[in-house]
Subunit: 255 residues, 2 copies
Amino acid sequence: PARVIAIVNQKGGVGKTTTAINLGATLAELGRKVLLVDFDPQASLTIGLGIDPLALDASTYDLVIDPETTAEDIRLKTSVAGLDLLPSDISLSGAEIQLVTEVARETTLQRVLDPMRPEYDFILIDCQPSLGLLTVNALTASDGVIIPLECEYFALRGLGFLVDKTIRTVQQRINPKLRIEGILATMFDMRTLHAREILEEVVERFGETVFHTIISRTVRFPETNKLGEPITTYAPSSLAAEAYRQLARELLARL
Amino acid sequence: PARVIAIVNQKGGVGKTTTAINLGATLAELGRKVLLVDFDPQASLTIGLGIDPLALDASTYDLVIDPETTAEDIRLKTSVAGLDLLPSDISLSGAEIQLVTEVARETTLQRVLDPMRPEYDFILIDCQPSLGLLTVNALTASDGVIIPLECEYFALRGLGFLVDKTIRTVQQRINPKLRIEGILATMFDMRTLHAREILEEVVERFGETVFHTIISRTVRFPETNKLGEPITTYAPSSLAAEAYRQLARELLARL
Ligand SMILES: Nc1ncnc2c1ncn2[C@@H]1O[C@H](COP(=O)(O)OP(=O)(O)OP(=O)(O)O)[C@@H](O)[C@H]1O
Ligand SMILES: Nc1ncnc2c1ncn2[C@@H]1O[C@H](COP(=O)(O)OP(=O)(O)OP(=O)(O)O)[C@@H](O)[C@H]1O
Ligand SMILES: [Mg+2]
Ligand SMILES: [Mg+2]
């Protein structure tokens, strides 16, 4: 059955969605069956795969709030073979407050994703920039966590809390199998001393937990968002596509 | 009394905090008395001004949750003359759920900021990347909104919802005086066609609401975060500092 991986960082704009799309696409290229789950009301993952959230009949909101809705009901095919999607829309922003008083609220997503596990090799969950109940649901449903990190100071400051508080608390109280697959340096600009210094600090503190793969900053990624396709089909022979292929291989080697 | 301005965009990492710090600093340079309010549990604004959130006795969390705590109790001086701060820390992440059942929950921040208005010319509120109750509180407490926008596709897609739904609903139901001061293009890279195309689209749709000032992408800004000071003291004669000085002048001219 599938390995479920949450893509989490409460810092905004660090490449969570970009990693979900492109790691998903490169794993599919390697013949793995992948399900992407958009767990952000902003629905960037859904938009980034060329799907209009306003045109959806149902989304991950219905999945976690309506007992009648199953993952099968909302699942969509994407333009990439072997890569499916559970889309979201802005209604998901209402889910957090509605879940607060539910019994076993943290395991809501896990319960509705479980039926999907036999059909896939990987399920990747794209999270919103927050450590609220939706993100805790994703961590509870997951076997592993990937933490995209832009090599900038604010993201570095937030990393300690994410790893030592949020992830550790979920491991200790709800999901002991959860482990960190790796910290991924994204939007990396080799030319700036600042980025190199931050990366050095991250490697010093987290050692082998940091992926050897580094994703450099390139305009190729924003261009793909507008076209609604991953880097592997937009610019298949680019360094950008190769970087996420390397990440997919490194992830498989770590399992 | 002060003009209160919320700095809002639900898209993460678009330059909200950077704009709060540096617009605050450039307004202070022009002799205005400015209060910055950190309304994000990540506390990037607090960290970016060289203050350690873990060392605080009280923060904006206490301000909105504890009736005994006043803005005066938590107010700090910064390294910049004329620029004060209401700091935050991670405990603020608990406020949203605690406020849900409060009577007149949307006006909580407005009520505790009102006593500060006579002492300042501007109060700038840095918001988290979400459109939840904390951000609605900031919009309710404000006279104006500044929307930093990275010229990338996901941020553009979210802009319509922010302007036509969230801001409009707050204007219609709670705060009719609220207006959009402007949309600010940030992290702009003149060399990429993608950024220029997105900017063109924004100007086409929003016209004069878009500030003429554009903030270009430069490593100077991440460097300032680590040192805990604004661009005006770190690199006073840089293009980066000049860009925010131009924004301060343009904002004053629009009032
Ligand atoms: N390696 C890269 N080089 C250049 N741009 C990138 C890179 N990775 C992502 N981007 C761009 O940066 C922006 C932010 O990335 P993305 O939306 O994936 O981050 P996020 O962490 O999911 O943001 P949010 O916190 O809002 O969910 C997007 O416009 C994306 O195209
Ligand atoms: N003009 C710029 N050029 C280059 N880097 C910038 C610029 N403006 C901001 N940055 C950097 O980009 C990162 C994100 O900016 P910032 O934290 O201000 O965004 P934000 O919208 O407040 O993020 P969040 O949604 O997490 O609160 C920071 O490391 C900041 O230093
Ligand atoms: Mg995202
Ligand atoms: Mg911020």
